[in-house]
Symmetry: C2
Subunit: 125 residues, 2 copies
């Protein structure tokens, strides 16, 4: 289970920062230049560039420079990988809950006589 997980390490690490999530949220609505991305953010351009580099290293964003303008785009496969891992956990957990529910249903079906003989056996010896 510990192999092949370096990309997920990077993806989750990249998403652990609110500025980087804001950049991803912006880019899901369409490509944008670095200066467009930086404009609404309360930080310097170099700080935004650093965040974008973390996102690019994680495979969440790709960018292309044409002339003097670097345009960034979302790269959906990394987000999909993170979603896939989380969904797998939820599925395992929910199927366990279902089995537990079945088990409890069977148990209560087999012991419905308890409710018809309340507290009788207790104290009898």
């Amino acid at each position: 289970m510990l192999n092949h997980e370096v990309p997920l390490d990077r993806v989750f690490h990249a998403l652990a920062d609110p500025t980087r999530r804001t950049l991803v949220e912006r880019l899901t609505r369409g490509p944008a230049s670095v200066s467009e991305l930086a404009k609404p953010l309360p930080m310097s351009l170099p700080a935004v560039v650093q965040h974008l580099q973390v996102l690019e290293a994680a495979g969440l964003v790709r960018s292309e420079k044409v002339g003097r303008v670097r345009t960034c785009r979302i790269e959906p496969s990394a987000l999909r990988a993170a979603e896939g891992w989380i969904v797998a956990q939820r599925t395992t957990w929910e199927s366990r809950l279902d089995r537990l529910g079945d088990f409890l249903d069977e148990g209560s079906a087999g012991s419905t006589s308890n409710s018809t003989t309340p507290a009788h056996t207790e104290g009898e010896s």
Copy 2:
């Protein structure tokens, strides 16, 4: 967009480590004691305890000590929050792609005459 995101910071940070993801994977299959969790892992018990503390601080795991045994359980709401954020990004991105597809379809519908005159114009001059 930068508010209310501290929990997601912690959740994604907690998931950015392969050992912690392995612990979550194990706990989605059912509760386990700290020593059961540590057994298959190539590290010391204190190291595992530290990872569990990060998972607890992120709200991904909760634990309860009865006697000398601490039992850990998955806490699905934190995973759900992370999944919700990622799904929201995918939805935005896919709806943008759909709109783009519609736009391109409209464009190609207006220029279908191109496909009925294959390669004719090329080389003619």
